[in-house]
Amino acid sequence: MKPTSFSYHRPGTLPEALALLSEYQGAARILAGGQSLMPLMAMRMARPERVIDINRIDDLKGIRDAGDTLTIGALTRYNDILRSPLIAAQMPLLAEAIGHVAHHAIRNRGTIGGSLALADPSAETPATCLALGARIVAQSTSREREIATDDFFDGLMSTALEEHEILVAVRIPKRPTALPHAFIEFARRKGDFAQAGIILAPAHDGMPENRAVIFGIGPTPWRSAALEAAFGGEGFAAAPKAALKDELNVYFADDEAAAFKLPIVMTLAQRAFARLKP
């Protein structure tokens, strides 16, 4: 459990980090909170030649109120989000979701940007950002671009981020405080990755469509058409239930071992919709 030898860079500014990333394209990994990269390197499942530690780049930290959106810097730690009055007031769904992330020691180090860039399908943050209609801000030496979370997660632990880009922030449309939401997950132990989870976020001015996200099943968190069709109804009725079952069975056809989760998701869906009621 010793990593292969690697070169370590610790730039003090984003342009320096981007220059290094551009120079060592393909051979370098960005180190943020290190909660996933470090164990992967220790087990030699990741063997980067170079590690670019961005922890000294203060510009990447913090939560900013940008009018219609909140901008959360990539290097903002889970616990900083969890304790932020701005998040508590404007984005309680995100705070609730992050309350389910692992344990204090991990939340003290782990970052929102790291989680989004890793794109673990069972993790709370990518799924929640998708449910909130967030946009990912990616920076390279030449440009900054925004990627909708709908287009960001493109496969198992794979994203639309290019090799020379650093995920620098996530922009999330503010939600009216009175708007209900539902976050529900089932994990074997408190703090574990979810066996399955469902997030319901009704539409508002900054997010024109109702969003329902399922995570913990399949290669990425995904928006469920069956669940989104059920918004506005009287609870979770029989028709969307059947549609959800069909939707899930598409996933389980490729993953028989996960098929036992079907009743779990059905139960979670029912309970999630019950939570939306005032």
Partner: protein, 795 residues
């Protein structure tokens, strides 16, 4: 200094704990030696494969690599070994070597050893080794192994290492005349101990005097000394095994590991100290495993609930080899001994088969066999109660071995001494209102929540006696010894053969010696875990610390006290029996008058012998030993009670309440005892709901890290209430009984019974541990299919 008060019975904190929690632990990995080489092993990626060739030139030429040794290179320096226990007639076990030669028989088996200047370099070198593998079919299930799809070891003829029957009474008549017979097939997942400190060893060989000094994270230094000397052909008195602080062992650090023996051999080959510390990933693939039983069982009842007979057939799937030196048979033999043991059962038949398959060796893990025996017996009893429409608690009371009935010969032929099954059941139910629980259960069901209550009686084999390993042929002793030294300062040092991996055995021994002599606990220092500095003895296994270890200490302490008083009598011209040792002075036994400081007696005994009457030879240290000579095991008993809730929509089982009533005999240290039992319960709860090393049919390992192998965390564990029945062991001076197995022995069974009590509300049941959401949902799905009901609607 204040008056001395007895140390036994007080919750004295462990002196070691202060050191450990302040970061001053001295674990094997903390010990450094100059010029150490660090060893890493290339482990087989296949469950079963022929090694056609190994190309290691690139690894050898890597800068910093000191030695690359194949199995054949290592085998030049030791004998092969086979884990046969001769008490079990007809047992078969294959020869094994520290590192695979020609063929790998489990995924994780060491194949090549590399010693380098750092562990990182050794791991780099592993990447450079090329092996021409020829994969073979792997045996990954007990059924596949017993069917002999592949015969793992040609010399054995088949994969069955042992097949034996224990029987008493007329089993056919018992079942033929039964009002009700219940039967079930229980499956138990494969576990491992998951110690916080991984297996670690640092070996140093000195060619000038052919001596070997080994620091090893292990429970049994004396056994390891004998094993290393024998297998490496060294003189045993030139081998020293030191077990410094050990961060949890639970039985997994009780036997010999090939990679650890190989590390000693590498120290000899390189003439440099050699260190091997298992990492978390290789721990799962190479630490001793345990459990993995499939038990078919039947129980026959009279109409009033009396048990007429019990039949079990235990298929116990071990690894590719039988562990050395104790063998892997222990768990199955305990299942045969203990299933149904809390009850008077006239007819019994237990068949056990131990089968080899392509997995790491099975060793002894806390409460060897007990959890299997308890779950099978207690679940069948509950099933019988349901079939007969009787109360399961009343049925236990009807069948329990009576308290105070003297030595009881169990259905399996074991002599069980001084059991208190009736008293412990009464005690666990004290303050627990079963009727109120049933009411709560009915109300919860209205809300869609299934509540369940489970009870599990168990008998424990705590403290192995001479016959069990005496007959085995292995260098394993059931005897414990303690050397007590009356130091020049007037304080006490004792050197114990019993060892301490965090249980607090040292503390208990210190308490026992303090009281036996009459000194303050703080004036006693206990030294253990060193085969050279301590007398030879068993170490730590099977809850022997408080029973055998403490008994030896009490005897040595009393002998030391007698000698101190003899010397004091000679100095003071008084009769020894008219004086007592009281803290740091000697007092008149009847008046309490202070006669002489203890230190003065020590000074004369060590430095001023000329002041004693002519011909007096002071003896300033005393060695005493204790072995349960004619009993295979010291025995005790307990009971556990569990309350669970099940969310049927998720298959989620939550633990609400857990209670243990245990007969620990005389309680030496209530805090250490209770925490010992709680820790055991947590491991049992892990077995009940979480822990399982998963393998495919072909024996490919599916659980590589602690993200896959779930151990219970504090958030999953309810408050564990522990109460006692103090029924002193008649066979020892102070009557303390072992308690290390108790928690693990009964916890999973109590939870299984609670889950089935809850599931019975909807007509479902489970019989496989761990009880995962997947298994609960499958059980519910089965009944809902029958009922044509949608999942999640149980009202």
């Amino acid at each position: 200094m204040t008056e001395v008060v007895p140390a036994i019975g007080r919750s004295i904190p462990r002196p070691r704990a202060k050191r450990l929690i302040s970061g001053r632990g001295r674990y094997t990995g903390d010990i450094t030696a100059r010029r150490t080489v660090h060893v890493a092993f290339l482990r087989s990626p296949y469950p079963h494969a022929i090694i056609n060739s190994i190309s290691a030139d690139a690894a050898r030429s890597l800068n910093g690599v000191v030695l690359v040794a194949t199995g054949a290179d290592i085998a030049q320096h030791c004998k092969p070994f086979a884990g046969i226990h001769r008490l079990f007639k007809g047992m078969k076990a294959p020869d094994q070597l520290p590192v695979a030669v020609g063929r790998a028989c489990w995924q994780g088996e060491p194949v090549v050893a590399i010693a380098a200047e750092t562990r990182a370099i050794a791991e780099d070198a592993l990447d450079l080794i090329e092996i021409d593998w020829e994969p073979l079919e792997g045996l990954g299930t007990p059924e596949k192994a017993v069917a002999g799809v592949v015969v793992l070891h040609d010399k054995l003829g088949d994969n069955i290492g042992y097949d034996g029957v224990t029987a008493s009474g007329d089993i056919d008549a018992a079942f033929a005349g039964a009002a009700v017979v219940v039967q079930d097939t229980f499956r138990f997942g494969r576990h491992t101990g998951v110690s916080l400190e991984p297996r670690s060893i640092l070996a140093a060989y000195d060619p000038s005097d052919e001596s070997l000094v080994v620091h090893e994270s292990h429970q049994c230094p004396a056994q390891q000394q004998a094993v290393f000397a024998d297998l490496m052909g060294l003189q045993e008195h030139r081998v020293r095994v030191v077990c410094p602080d050990v961060g949890g062992a639970f039985g997994l650090k009780q036997q010999l590991y090939g990679d650890e023996l190989a590390t000693c051999i590498i120290a000899k080959m390189t003439r440099r100290p050699a260190s091997f510390i298992a990492d978390r990933v290789e721990s799962f693939a190479s630490d001793n495993h345990a459990r993995e039983h499939v038990v078919e069982a039947r129980m026959a009842f009279d109409p009033d609930g009396r048990i007429r007979g019990l039949m079990i057939d235990d298929l116990f799937a071990v690894g590719a080899y039988s562990q050395y030196p104790r063998s892997s048979i222990g768990e199955a033999s305990h299942v045969a001994a203990l299933t149904g043991a809390p009850y008077d059962i006239a007819a019994y038949q237990a068949r056990v088969r131990m089968v080899y398959q392509n997995k790491p060796p099975v060793g002894h893990y806390r409460a060897v066999g007990h959890p299997i025996a308890c779950a099978v017996g207690e679940s069948l009893l509950d099933q019988g109660a349901r079939a007969l429409g009787l109360d399961a608690i009343a049925m236990r009371r009807l069948n329990q071995v009576r308290d105070g009935s003297g030595p009881h010969t169990s259905h399996s032929g074991f002599v069980l001494n001084g059991l208190s099954v009736e008293a412990t059941l009464d005690r666990v139910l004290e303050g627990f209102d079963v009727a109120a629980f049933r009411k709560e259960q009915a109300e919860a069901r209205e809300r869609g929540i299934l509540l369940g209550l489970g009870i599990a009686n168990f008998v424990e084999l705590a403290g192995t006696g001479a016959p069990y390993y005496g007959e085995s042929g292995a260098p394993v002793t059931a005897q414990e010894s303690c050397l007590v030294r009356f130091e020049p300062s007037g304080q006490i040092r004792c050197h114990a053969s019993a060892t301490d991996q965090g249980q607090g055995t040292d503390t208990a021994i210190g308490q026992a010696v303090a009281d036996a002599i009459g000194v303050f606990f703080d004036d006693v220092e206990v030294i253990s875990g060193d085969s050279m500095a301590c007398p030879s003895g068993g170490g730590a296994w099977a809850s022997r610390g408080a029973s055998a270890g403490v008994e030896a200490a009490v005897r040595a302490g009393r002998a030391m006290r007698d000698e101190i008083l003899r010397l004091a009598g000679l100095i003071l011209q008084r009769k020894p029996e008219q004086m007592t040792v009281a803290g740091r002075v000697i007092r008149d036994a009847s008046t309490g008058a202070e006669l002489v400081p203890l230190k003065d007696v020590a000074t004369i005994g060590h430095y001023r012998q000329h002041l004693l009457p002519p011909g007096t030879q002071p003896e300033m240290s005393m060695l005493r030993s204790f072995v349960p000579q004619n009993q295979s095991f010291l025995t005790t008993n307990g009971v556990q009670l569990s309350v669970v809730s099940i969310d049927p929509g998720l298959g989620d089982v939550r633990l609400l309440r857990h209670r243990v009533a245990h007969d620990s005999g005389t309680v030496i240290n209530p805090m250490l005892l209770n925490e010992q039992i709680r820790g055991g319960v947590v491991q049992g709860l892990g077995a009940a709901l979480f822990e399982e090393i998963r393998y495919g049919e072909d024996a490919v390992l599916g659980t590589g890290t602690l993200m896959d192998y779930l151990v219970p965390l504090a958030t999953e564990i309810p408050d564990i209430e522990v109460v006692h029945v103090a029924n002193a062991d008649p066979g020892t001076t102070i009557g303390a009984k072992g308690a290390g197995e108790a928690g693990t022995a009964g916890a999973a069974a109590a939870v299984l019974n609670a889950v089935n009590d809850a599931l019975a509300l909807i007509g479902a049941s489970v019989n496989t541990l761990p009880i995962t959401p997947e298994r609960v949902l499958a059980a519910i799905d089965q009944v809902t299919r029958e009922d044509q009901q949608a999942p999640g609607n149980y009202k």
